[in-house]
Amino acid sequence: MDNTVLLGVWLAVGLTLFMYSFLYKDNVFFRFGEHVYLGISIGYIIVRVIFNNFINDLYKPLVEDRDYILIIPALMGLALYTRFFTRIAWVSRVIFAFIVGFGAGLGIPRTIAGGIFKQLEGVLMPLAAIKDGFFFNADGNFTLVNINSLIIIVGITSVLVYFFFSVEHKGVVKSVSRVGIYFVMIAFGASFGYTVMGRMSLLIGRCYDLIEFSSPKYYYASIVLLIMLILVFIIYEVVIKKGEVLKTNE
């Protein structure tokens, strides 16, 4: 096997176990893993920003394609740094205002379209079949064509009442909002179970990797590193910490 692959496997197993060691308690291995992770992510961001944003989005179009309109966003970006100079720090606030305003302007229509209109479109459904002025089906039996529609309407109405802030939750409003909170909790319960199942599959995936890397092909990477980690913890807890306690008592 290629040595670089083997090195990668041992690093992956080591860092995985370091991060899992947090389950025991905060320790030097977790801190090492945390700082390595943080350092790599920062380094990656810097490289990504330089190449993707600065070179590909700004430098190349500006210099090679002579797309001079890009000078405006570039200057706006640079203006953010004026906050380091007290006398002209107000310039950065103008740019921040632009960023916040742009975000709100972009977000509001999208929220109304997706969060209100799309929802209403899906909810405004016939509650029942009407025949000869009554809710009956072809066989003459009472029917609600879409019982889901009724449940959804009751659910949405009661949840909206819960989120009314202009009225005190007393009397009828309290009862309706209580129904609303039941709907919310049922939805959260379902979402919770669904997400936990997703997390379990992630854990299983990681465990599969650790099991695979414990094979002779990888020189028992998972087993060796796990034993080493446990030994270090035992030595620290039993020998060093006990010694420190004795020293303090003396």
């Binding site: 991060m19 947090f22 308690k25 905060d26 977790f30 801190r31 893993g33 945390e34 992770y37 943080l38 790599i40 992510s41 920062i42 990656y44 961001i45 953010l80 921040f96 960023i99 916040v100 742009f102 975000g103 709100a104 972009l106 977000g107 509001i108 229509p109 929220t111 109304i112 379209a113 997706g114 209100i116 209109f117 209403l120 479109e121 909810v123 405004l124 459904m125 016939p126 509650l127 029942a128 009407i130 309407i153 949405i156 109405t157 909206l160 009442v161 989120f163 009314f164 802030f165 202009s166 009225v167 005190e168 939750h169 919310v184 939805a187 959260f188 979402s191 919770f192 997400t195 997390r199």
Partner: protein, 407 residues
């Protein structure tokens, strides 16, 4: 004749339903064929419409669209179409008369039906439509031409614009009302009352308060709400002479938070106590950020953790660690998928819109109070629309449903 056209027409013959029809000569030439720039789009396509003729509108009757760069040709076959859908509300609205028209959208110019490398349309293009009977063309339409262009205004979204305008006027009305009467009623939000308790506890214990703004940037409404709440929290912290730490995932959010906290300390009359280093950037990598904040929690052991803003999969990692160190935890997010995790691990949780209401509740500023009242009014309006719309829909009236259609 291209081989697959022969195959296509041969298949129709094999299926055995073309000969009778064409023998009877019931097909008619295309009528009122028109070409125009596709409305409400960013450019790049031309639309063709022609009147639906019941005799032609059958699965076995293929239309053939031909295109040319000059009015007298040469003509190139673009596509064959059968049994066309006649309405396209995104472009042509919901009028019942739209169903009287067949519709086709052309984005590329082909040299032949089998051209695998079609070129985008870049100049005025001429079109004509043919109805074929499998072996010969029965009739051609007149020649029409069009060129595409981008549209500044998307008329299919006019209902959203109207709603935004009405909503804005309602909000402005309530803001003016709140200016006249600053004591407009807002119901108590339990989670917010707990913030003061948490700050007090942190002060007594001599430990810091950890405030997170979520993982989104300043473009997110929940981050804006979170920074607004941060201002109120920071002011209380300054008054109590406690300490607040704000680790950020976004450099711009960090800068905004520094400004907000600085302003809060100034308002509290404690500018000397403000420490810019307590509002710091960690990384924009989601789980590296979570790992760093977890480490921060176990090392600094904050007495209170406030999670405001939008969160993703890291929410449980953060809140579980916070619970493990025994901190009072108050969360506020509109991230529906993460709310269950905060509810199970935090002492108080502001759900969804409560996050936005929190800011108004804390500040009692007319701008925010009026905005909250306006939102309540709109919620009432939506409940009304919901009930009336469902009843109307049950009675077969689709007006309200169509009013809220989005494309």
């Amino acid at each position: 004749m291209p081989w697959f056209r022969i195959l296509f027409l041969g298949l129709i013959s094999l299926l055995g339903f073309n000969n009778d029809i064409f023998a009877q000569n019931t097909l008619v030439s295309p009528q009122d064929f028109t070409a125009f720039d596709t409305p409400n789009d960013a450019g790049g396509s031309v639309s063709l419409t022609w009147r639906v003729v019941p005799e032609n509108n059958k699965p076995e009757v293929p239309y053939l669209i031909l295109a040319a760069t000059a009015p007298d040709g040469p003509w190139f076959e673009q596509t064959t179409l059968v049994n066309l859908k006649s309405d396209y509300p995104q472009y042509f609205g919901l009028s019942a008369s739209n169903k009287l028209w067949s519709y086709c959208e052309i984005t590329d110019f082909k040299q032949s039906l089998t051209d695998d490398n079609p070129k985008p349309i870049t100049a005025t293009t001429y079109f004509k439509l043919a109805v074929t009977d499998g072996s010969k063309t029965l009739g051609f339409s007149s020649v029409v031409s069009a060129m595409h262009q981008g549209n500044w205004f998307d008329a299919s979204k006019i209902n959203i614009l109207i709603f935004v305008v009405i909503f804005s006027f309602v909000i402005m009305f309530f803001i003016s009302l709140a200016r006249k009467n600053p004591d407009l009623f807002i119901r108590r939000i339990p989670g917010l009352d707990a913030i003061e308790e948490a700050i007090g506890r942190a002060t007594e214990m001599g430990k810091p308060i950890l405030y997170l703004n979520g993982l989104d940037g300043m473009g997110s409404l929940s981050t804006i709400a979170a920074t607004s709440i941060l201002g109120k929290v920071a002011r209380k912290v300054a008054n109590y002479d406690s300490q607040i730490k704000v680790p950020c995932r976004d450099p711009i959010v960090m800068s905004v938070c520094q400004e907000v906290v600085r302003e809060a300390y100034l308002e509290a009359g404690r500018p000397d106590a403000y420490n810019q280093d307590n509002i710091f950037f960690i990384t924009d990598d989601q789980f590296a950020y979570a790992a760093a904040v977890d480490g921060l929690m176990v090392r600094h052991k904050p007495a209170a953790n406030l999670y405001m803003g939008y969160y993703y999969a890291e929410s449980l990692l953060l809140a579980e660690t916070g619970a493990a160190i025994g901190a009072i935890q108050i969360a506020g997010t509109d991230s529906i998928t993460q709310l269950p995790f905060f509810i199970t691990t935090c002492d108080y949780t502001l759900m969804g819109e409560e996050l936005y209401a929190a800011s108004a509740y804390l500040s009692r500023e007319p701008l925010q109070t009026g905005s909250l009242k306006g939102q309540d009014f709109t919620k009432g309006l939506i409940i009304l629309i919901l009930i009336l719309g469902s009843l109307a829909s049950t009675a077969g009236i689709t007006f309200l449903v169509n009013l809220f259609k989005t494309f």
